[in-house]
Structure formats: C-alpha cells, structure tokens
Symmetry: none
C-alpha cells in the first residue's frame, strides 16, 4: 500500500511515548548529555539511553562525543521532513471516503434528498458518482435475487430496471444465473 508504511510506523512509534516526547522537547532547546536528560525527566541513565537509541534508530538524533560525554542533538529537519511526509496533503486524502469526496458530495447533494435519488444524472461522470453511492447500499459478499436488488434500489428511486442495468454496466454489480452480488471496487469501470 504505502511503500514506506514501516518507516512511518517506526517514526510514529518512536515519538509516541511520554518520556521520549519529553526528551524531544528538551532537545528542541539545545543539545544535552545523557545525564542531563536523565536528571531532567527523572529516569535512570540506562533508561534514557534506551529511549535515545530508539529515537536514534529512526534518524531523529545526532550524537557527538566530547570526551566521554555524549551530546545528543535533535535533527529537527528530519522531524519536519517526516512530519510533512506523513501528514502532508499528498499522503492524506483530504477528501475522505468515496461518497464523501467533496466533488462527490456536491453531486450527491444535488441529486439526492433524504436518501431519495431525485433524478438520474445525464452526464457520465455524475452518473458514476450516484451509482457508486447506490452500489454502497449492497453488502459485499452477499448474494441477491433480482427481486431483492430491485427492492433495495427502489428505496432510493422508482426506476430500478434502469439503475440495475447501469450498476451492471459499470460493473459495480455482477450477475450470474439470476443472482447478483456486489463487485469489489477494483473491478469497476472508470467513469
């Protein structure tokens, strides 16, 4: 799905801990030694060391040794870059959900009222949106008789024959030996 799913997960896991988040907070101010951090957040040094190792593993830290003091510094650009990549517009679909996409919603607002399809859109593109919404009324994995398909469609529009044919045409429903079932989205024809 995501090529860097694991990286994202690791990044989030590294930050999603009270003490580590505290450490990151302290390191945004300035570089710090292990002792210093341990004193500031009230943990023993080995524990802090363990947390630092985790943060380091995902590339959030930079360490320089001066004598036997190890100075840890936050790689702020890394956090920002990762944060952007995880929470950026490209990654997160701002218009979530099939029938919830803004475009779709506008179409649906125009054509649907109280769950009733007022009119079947003439344009291919708009009809597709409406059909997608209608296909959502069928459960995946379940088989329906033609009668029950009609019944379900008629909850939303009187012309179940046309709409049923359209659903088949766009491959949102599939028919075989008189039974109908919902097709996965991957099988649909594009609008």
């Amino acid at each position: 799905m995501e090529p860097d799913f694991d990286a994202t997960l690791a990044f989030l896991k590294a930050l999603a801990n009270e003490q580590r988040l505290r450490i990151v907070g302290l390191l945004t101010e300035r570089r710090r030694s292990v002792q210093e951090l341990a004193a500031l957040i009230g943990l023993k040094e080995p524990t802090v060391c363990h947390h630092l190792a985790l943060l380091n593993k995902v590339g959030l830290l930079e360490m320089t040794a001066e004598g036997n003091i190890h100075w840890y510094r936050l790689r702020a650009e890394q956090i920002l870059a990762l944060g952007r990549s995880v929470f950026g517009q490209e990654r997160i679909n701002i218009d979530p959900g099939m029938d919830e996409k803004r475009w779709d919603r506008r179409i649906l607002e125009n054509f649907v009222e109280d769950g009733q399809l007022k009119q079947i859109p003439a344009s291919r593109k708009k009809r597709w949106v409406v059909l997608r919404w209608l296909a959502d009324k069928f459960k995946t994995g379940e088989h329906y008789s033609e009668a029950s398909v009609n019944k379900i469609i008629q909850k939303h529009h009187w012309d179940s024959a046309t709409l049923r044919r359209e659903l088949i045409g766009y491959r949102m429903l599939k028919r075989q030996r008189g039974m109908y079932w919902r097709q996965p989205e991957s099988a649909w024809l594009q609008a």
Copy 2:
C-alpha cells in the same frame, strides 16, 4: 511546557500502531464498516472495535449508523490539523544550537553591563552561563598564577575569590601546584 503535551501524545499513540495505521489507510479511501475492516486487515471484530475506539477518542473518526451497520469515516482535516500543530515550524525549533545562545545572551544581558558583572546569579543554571562567559576571558593552553587569575576576574567583579572557586568548582579552570589553566568545554560540569 507544552500546554497540549497530552493531546499530542494521545494523538501520536493513537496512530503509532500497525493495525490502526492500516485502518487509517483504509479509511482514507472511503468509509468502512467494522466487519469490512476486520476482514481487510485480518483481525476479529472486537479487536477492530477496540482500535476504532482509540482512534475515535482522539477525534480522528466520525461514525454514522445505518441500521446496525456502523460506518466509520476518517476526519482527515483533523489529522492534517493535528499533524501541522505537532510538526509545524512554530513547534519544532529548526535551529536548536541558536537557541542555546539566545538563552545565554538574555542571561548575560541581565547580569553584565559594560563588561562588569553586576551580580553573581543565585540560580545554578544562570550562574553557569555567567561563569562560562568569565572562563572565556582566559586563554586556553596558557598557565596563570593565582594572582593573575584574580586580576583578570577583578576586571569584571570585585569578588575574585568566590568566582575563582566557582570556576574551579565547575571545572572550567583547573589548578595544580598553584598554577591555573583553562579546561576544555568537554570537561566542565553541567549546570
């Protein structure tokens, strides 16, 4: 420190889990029912329910019931807003080294005037800053008699005895057989 430390932590914790991140991924495409999600990621429904509850608690989801099917939808604006607030420029200091200096400068502005130390800070942390400034008046590699150490300190404050002792205490100066010399920063005690 941070007023919304807890909110940030909760948000990160909610996302920092393999299955939940997967769920979020699936929900970016479209709304889904609990069953659907369970089937898609290979978990039992109670488990998915539990994860959904966690995501919901931090405001990432929106649920609408149709009959006894519960549709979960991602509140993408929420994720983006939270992501921005956590990883935004304001929050993360891109240049942590700078900040250290800024803090120091403020202290020095308060305690030093025309090269004169007006007062020895009582707080450890602030005293450390001032002593660091004072240690800078000594050249590295050079050896000083106690008299010349006092003389240098007295250019900046009358109480050379106390300050000399402090410099030794913080290991910024070192003494041996009556001679003093400046220590490298790595040897200093932390404030």
